[in-house]
Every structure is written in C-alpha cells, then in structure tokens.
Amino acid sequence: MTTRRRDLLLGIGVAAFAVLLLLVVIPLGVHVPKAVRAAVLSPDLWPRVIAGMLLLFGTVLALQARFGAGDEDDWQAPGFDPLAALRFLATLGLFLLYYWLVRRLGMVLASSLAILAFGLFGRTRHTLLLLATALVLPFLLWGFFYEIAGIPLPSGDWVSWP
C-alpha cells in the first residue's frame, strides 16, 4: 500500500468517525439539560464543533491524498508481514495478561513476571541481566511508591502482598 492510499483510507475513516460522532455518539453520550440558557453554553456545543473539525480535516486529508500532487514521500510500504502482525497481537495479549496478573498476584510480582515475559518475547540475549532486572526493579519501585510515597499498591487475590 502506498502512503497516498493509506492517507486516503485514513481521511475517509476520520470523516466517517466524525459523522458517527455527530449522529450517534454525541446524542447518546452527551446529556443536554432542558434549561440551557443559550445554545453557545450547551454541553454538546464543543463536542459538535470538534466533530465538525474532524469531519473537515478528514475530508481534506482524503482529498489531498486523492487529488494532491504526488511527491517523493509517496513510497511503497513493505508488504503485510504476518509474523509482525501476530507478534503485535501477542503483545496486546501480554498487556492484558499483565493487567489480569496484577489483580491476581499484586503489582510487584506481576511486574517481575511481566519484565521476564516481555524480555523473553523481545528475544533477549542477556538472560541473566533480564532476570536480575525482573527481580530488582519492581522491588525498587515498590520501595519508592509503597514505602516512601505511601501509595497503596494493589495486592492480589492469590498473593496478598504488599
């Protein structure tokens, strides 16, 4: 896909999102009281103005991509890389797993495991250094946030520490 085609799709996508905002999301998501003194004070004025801006700029981007003069930036992006896409999805999965583990093991232990997992997933060749970081860093952060700053870090359902 060229950058021009990418920008065309992006512009159309932004404009479509703006229309969705104007027609569905703002009417459903912004509560307008009946006793609004002036239209310019209405809670939905600002979101509507912003949605209008997005509609305009999305359209402009699409038009620029469709009719604008081509230049040296119009490169051919590398083809779809299934492995990279899979790794991206796996990273998102690891994020969610990290979030879930914080609830189960507490912030400190979950962070230790997360550092290990992300380091191995990043194909580290420095396994010992990774292990040391996974053991030391979360405890240093616990020391600062919990012991010094007095922030109650979450403990887990399975391990009630800290």
Binding site: R6, V25, D71, E72, T91, Y98, A114, G122, R125, I151
Partner: protein, 501 residues
C-alpha cells in the same frame, strides 16, 4: 511582600537539601534518558512525573525541570558517539559531532557540546528571569476573552509540532480536544461521554494519556519487530577542547544562544529547528564554513547552543501566561496542575516565592548540568548501547506503576494501555502525537474561557473583540495561520517545480 523579601524567602526554600538534591538527580536522570536512543526528554519527564506526587510542589517541579534540561544535553551523547540522536533536538549535532568522533575526537566534541549547552542554558535562563515577570505583569489585565484568544493563538503551535502533514497534525489535535471533553460538563455538571463509567466522571487523567502516547508506542514497535542493535559506540580519544578552540567557537555559541532564546519564546518552534538555524547561521559567518559537515567544532557548538538556548525560553510563556511553548512544557504544565498550581500571572502574585525559587533552581540547573555533563561524558557513554530487550520491559513496568500511582486505580492503567495502542496506530499512520497532547491540555482551558466569556456577555460574541489584547491575539492567530498556509503551499510547489525541472 517586596521583591527582596520574596527573593530571601525563595532562597531559604531552594536551599533545602531535598530541593537541591531533586534538581541534581533530575539532571542526572535527564542526561541518562537523553543518552539512550529511543528514549526522549518528553518520555523522561513523563516517566519521572509519577515519582513527584509525594513530593513538595517545588521539589517535584525542580526534579522535572532537571530531567528536561539534562535530557536535552544527554541527546548529544549518542548523536556524537553512535550517530543516533538521543532526542530530535540533537539531530543537528550529528552533522559535525560524528565526523569528529570518527577522527578519534569524540571526547573533544562532547566537551564542546557540554560547554555550548551550559552557556546557552545560562543565557536562556537569564532571558526567562528578565522577561517572564514583565509578561506576567502585563497579563494580569487578562480576562476570559483575552485568555480564550491567547489559547487559540497558542493552539497554532500545533503547526510547529505536526511534522510533515499539517492536516494530520490537526486531526491529532481534534482527537486530543475530543478526549479532553470526557467527564462532567464544566457549567451544567452533566455527563459527557461517560457511558455509566464512574471513573470517567473526572475526565481522562493526563498522565496515563501522556505515558500511553509517548512511551508505549515505542515498546509496541520494538516488540513487533525486535532489533537489539544500535550503532558502534566510538572511543572518546585523548583530545580535549583547548582555550583557543573554545574562543574560536564563542561567536557561534553566542549566536546560537540568542537564536535559541528567540525561537524558544515563540510557541511551537522547539529545539530542532532552532539548532539547524543556529548551525546554518554559524556556518554563514564562520571563516571555516567549508569544514562544516566534515567535523567542525564550531558546528557542534552552534547546534548545541541553538537547542539548549530554547530550554529556558520555552518556560517564558508557560510561567508568565500559563500556555506551553512545546510538548515538554505542556507536560510540565500538567505537572504544575497535578501539584495544585496554575502557572500564569496569578501565580506571580500568589506564589511569588515559589516563582523566585524556581528561577533560582533553574539557574542552579546550569551548574548541575555542567558537573553532570563532565561526568556523563566518561561514565554514561555506555548507556547508549543498553540492550533494548531489557530497557523496554523495564520502561513498561515503570509506566504501569506510574499510571496506577496517580489515583490508585487500575482503571488508569487500562487508559494508558488504550492510549498506547492509539499512539501506536498514530505512529504507524504518520499522525503526530504531540498535537494530541497539547490539544488535550489546552482544550479544557479553551472551552472554559470561551464559556465564561459567553456567560459574561450573555451569549454575545462581540466580547471577543472587547480590548486591544484580544485584537492583538486575533491578528497574531491570523498571521500565524497565514504563515502556516504559505509554508504549506511552498512545500507543495517545491516538489512540483522539482518534477518540472
């Protein structure tokens, strides 16, 4: 309280060991973060911010200012040693810094970068002290309509941080403004985009959004295609800057500092353009102009003076008017707010001791920068090749602790992950993240002042033309937009002409 009393009390405040230690620590952290390719000064400030929650406001803000100043200099270390700028502002330093390193004179290049950075930093700090109070006194007469037009003008800085496509910068700003509307309405207290989530009633907190936008996309990009390597780290060599060489570079340093101050005080320009302008001007006036780009010490001095001269001056609009000059000062503005402070003219009246203490701390930061820089040149150069497979998982853990610590809720961690994915999508599609953040911070101020003005005038728009100040900002906004359009048209014509040739 007169100015001398305030200065006396400010000195008492800044003389506290924790304030001095925070500033020194901040500079060290900044230099280290700046020296790591893939980490930016913005990312450094963002990741340090959660650590300041439990600190006194002055101590916390000094820590962040230290990170900011250290980060700008730190970027020159990998720029010279491995031809990879640590921060965008140090990209100009590569031009002459790396050829010097290839000749075995990396130590000399780094020393000159440090001297130029420190001198420019002092000049920039003095400009801040001289002009901020004057500007703040002038801004005392501002009401909501004046602030609305000022913030509207400040939003034109988005053009400066939009990169290659202004349209994409504006789209990014639109999304930032939209994200800022989430929460309870300012006037009526009704729901906006809450959809039953009580955590959203106070709106999206800016710190998870900031961390998500600036730290997570780099991690996601790395994990998608892990590559460990950076360039080869050059040896420092045994050469040092001689007095004669230093004197030869002074003119370029002075010029670069002045350019940095002027460009830093104008919102939206930032360190990189300032460094390139300083470099080209120094080259124009130098008798050694033919050696520029091949390892000329004057080139390193001018570009470093240009990018560090910006650092103090960008704080002028922030402290005096409460509007950020670039993305890092936007983050520092957020930090002030987190600590219950609101920069602007009122702060000069109600918190003058704090303002003076900040001025003193900022001056002191130049001294710490010099000391830390001297050590960093020898000690931190290996930081540049820290393995990314260790760095990024560690940064991720920092992000999670930091995002949680704001409100002690895991919801903010979810917000951070969500904005991280959004930031990654923006990175992949060429949409810059800086306009999003600036609009996210300025959006509520813009809306608040607009609606206050409307309440004052009972819905009449003529209130936005009520004074010379509003007229001035309308004119400045129109001029700024005109220049942006002209630049955009010029950029379009150039490739067409090139094609025609």
């Amino acid at each position: 309280m007169n100015a001398w009393d305030a200065a006396y009390w400010a000195f008492q405040t800044i003389a506290q060991p924790e304030a001095v230690a925070a500033l020194a620590l901040g500079v060290v952290i900044g230099v280290i973060v700046g020296a790591i390719p893939g980490m930016s000064a913005t990312m450094g400030v963002a990741l340090t911010l959660p650590f300041t929650f439990s600190m006194e406001p002055l101590v916390g803000i000094l820590l962040l200012l230290g990170v900011y100043k250290g980060g700008i200099f730190g970027g020159s270390i990998p720029a010279i040693l491995i031809k990879t700028p640590g921060t965008p502002a140090s990209s100009c330093t590569v031009l002459d810094g790396h050829p010097l390193a290839e000749r075995g004179e990396a130590g000399k290049a780094l020393e000159m970068a440090l001297y130029a950075s420190c001198i420019a930093d002092v000049i920039s700090n003095l400009a801040l002290i001289l002009f901020a109070a004057w500007l703040a006194a002038f801004a005392l007469s501002f009401g909501p309509p004046e602030f609305f037009t000022l913030i509207l003008f400040s939003l034109t800085i988005i053009a400066g941080v939009s990169g290659d496509s202004l349209t994409k910068g504006l789209i990014s700003a639109g999304f930032g403004l939209l994200a800022a509307t989430v929460g309870l309405d300012l006037v009526y207290g009704t729901d906006r985009f809450i959809f039953g989530q009580t955590e959203l009633m106070a709106g999206l907190n800016f710190i998870p959004v900031l961390i998500g936008l600036f730290a997570l996309p780099e991690i996601l990009a790395y994990l998608r295609r892990p590559t460990e390597g950076v360039g080869k780290v050059m040896d420092l060599g045994r050469h040092h800057v001689t007095w004669r060489e230093f004197r030869r570079c002074l003119r370029g340093i002075g010029l670069g500092s002045v350019i940095g101050v002027v460009m830093g005080a104008i919102p939206g320009i930032g360190g990189a353009p300032s460094a390139f302008l300083a470099y080209s001007e120094a080259r124009r006036i130098s008798p050694n102009r033919d050696r520029f780009g091949k390892g000329e010490l004057e080139g390193v001095a001018a570009s470093e003076a240009g990018n560090n001269g910006v650092a103090g001056a960008t704080l002028i609009p922030l402290l005096a008017l409460g509007v950020p000059g670039d993305v890092i000062t936007a983050v520092i503005l957020g930090a002030f707010m987190v600590h219950g402070l609101r920069p602007g003219p009122i702060m000069f009246q109600q918190n003058i001791i704090l303002v003076y203490a900040l001025f003193m701390g900022i001056l002191l930061s130049s001294v710490f920068l010099f000391i830390t820089g001297k050590i960093a040149i020898r000690a931190f150069r290996r930081v540049a090749d820290i393995p990314r497979s260790i760095l990024y998982p560690s940064v991720l853990a920092l992000c999670v602790f930091g995002a949680y610590a704001i409100n002690n809720t895991m919801f903010d961690v979810l917000v951070m992950f969500a904005t991280g994915v959004l930031g990654y999508f923006m990175m992949r599609t060429g949409i810059p993240a800086a306009p999003f953040l600036i609009a996210f911070i300025l959006g509520p101020m813009l809306e608040d002042n607009f609606r206050q003005a409307m309440l004052m005038s009972q819905g009449s728009f003529t209130i936005f033309l009520r004074s010379g100040i509003t007229w001035f900002f309308w004119a400045a906004t129109a001029l700024s937009i005109g220049l942006i359009v002209r630049r955009g048209l010029g950029r379009r014509r150039r490739p067409a002409t090139a094609g025609g040739d």
